[in-house]
Amino acid sequence: MTAQGLNRLEDAQLAARVAQDIPDGSYVNLGIGKPTHVSGYVPDGREVIYHSENGLLGVGPTPPEGAEDRELIDASKRFVTAAQGASYFEQSDSFAMMRGGHIDIAVLGAYQVAENGDLANWATLDDSFPPAVGGAMDLVVGVPSIFIMMRHVNRDGSPKLLKRCSYPLTGLGVVNRVYTDLAVLDVTKDGFRLVELTPGNSLDAVQAVTEARIHS
């Protein structure tokens, strides 16, 4: 299985695609890495409030160089600003927001997603690195809409959309929707269901690089 010959969204296009599905007025947590770029593509006219688990509700744009406040950072440890209507709070309150169902959407990266909604995004089977989990397990149990944003297949061509995850799980049955460079898929009780294909791709071609069955 390889993804060669398929039409792929660039990272920026993928971020823009996810951003389309963030409604006006929602509270959103963007995971470390690619998901942080989603906020740059939310259509004008929508006010979205970004939560950063280190203790900021209302993450604003990156500050101009030289104007950084070195103690105002987001969960990716990047310098940020506070948006209008923002607030600061300590960790136990921040995670109450996450676990308590107050945040509407979390966008996260993933190593693997299974057709039963299981997510693996914090550890691989290579245990020479120390494990590091951060807030991912809290987000997936608490936030009602979990969006995954990732490449459809690994660099070596192996699939990331699986029947069952082989890596250690972050959460069980928690994923609602997966955005990849090749397609958008919902997780339903019957497994993956196709929402849309990146223009130019056929379902058969995408299915060929997907271990789990894609229902149409």
Binding site: E71, Y88, M98, V133, G134
Partner: protein, 221 residues
């Protein structure tokens, strides 16, 4: 009532070898750099460090790790870019590591500070990090029973404080500092500005009852 210490050295003097130590901060924000440096100087070793991260570069907790003062780390995310000293000690098998999901870490700390005996959380249910832990199903949902996490000392970083130990914080430097102040038997706060007059009671974030020692350290990272 005057909880002010004359110097960073005086503030950390009571910390013994083998102490369980909470250290505030997330990434580079809200870390009590002054107290950590003073502790390094003081020499306490065999420490258990409870913190979100495990230090980066050559500053903060990384200094304690480099100097071989840390026997165990309890944290959620030891892999901050540049955590070279943690990685070196870990790979050499010189350090014990307990990884706790970040929200469970915060809640275990709060639970200790609040005098509770434990809590049920859905976080990590069915995962490796719940292995060996008591679980139960409530209304069809799985929960893990988590225990309080106590400490002998907490090293806290705050923006402002007064002689009663009241603290307020700056931006995301708040992070773990207030909850750790609650949970340790003896909490030591390094404040950027120690005020002569009491803080406004409406804007106090950490009430002085949770703080045993306050010391001024004017620098901001």
């Amino acid at each position: 009532m005057n909880k002010t210490a004359e110097s960073l050295a005086a503030a950390v003097a009571p910390i013994p070898d083998g102490a369980a130590l909470m250290i505030g901060g997330f990434g580079s924000s809200g870390i009590p750099f002054g107290l950590i440096d003073a502790l390094l100087e003081q020499g306490a070793t065999g420490l258990t460090v409870i913190s979100n991260n495990a230090g980066a570069g050559e500053t903060g907790i990384a200094k304690l790790l480099k100097a071989g003062r840390v026997a165990k780390v309890i944290c959620s995310y030891p892999r901050t870019p540049g955590s070279i000293w943690f990685e070196a000690r870990y790979e050499a098998g010189e350090i014990e590591l307990e990884v706790v999901p970040q929200g469970t870490l915060a809640e275990r700390i709060r639970t200790a500070g609040a005098g509770l005996g434990g809590f049920l959380t859905p976080t990590a249910y069915g995962t490796l990090l719940a292995k060996g832990k008591e679980t139960r199903i409530i209304d069809g949902r799985g929960y893990v029973l988590e225990a309080p996490l106590h400490a002998d000392f907490a090293l806290i970083r705050a923006e402002g404080g007064d002689r009663w130990g009241n603290l307020h914080f700056h931006a995301t430097a708040r992070n773990f500092n207030p909850v750790m102040a609650m949970a340790a038997k003896h909490s030591i706060a390094e404040v950027r500005s120690l005020q002569d007059t009491p803080l406004d009671p409406e804007t106090v974030v950490t009430p002085g009852i949770f703080v045993q020692t306050v010391v001024e350290y004017g620098e901001r990272p």
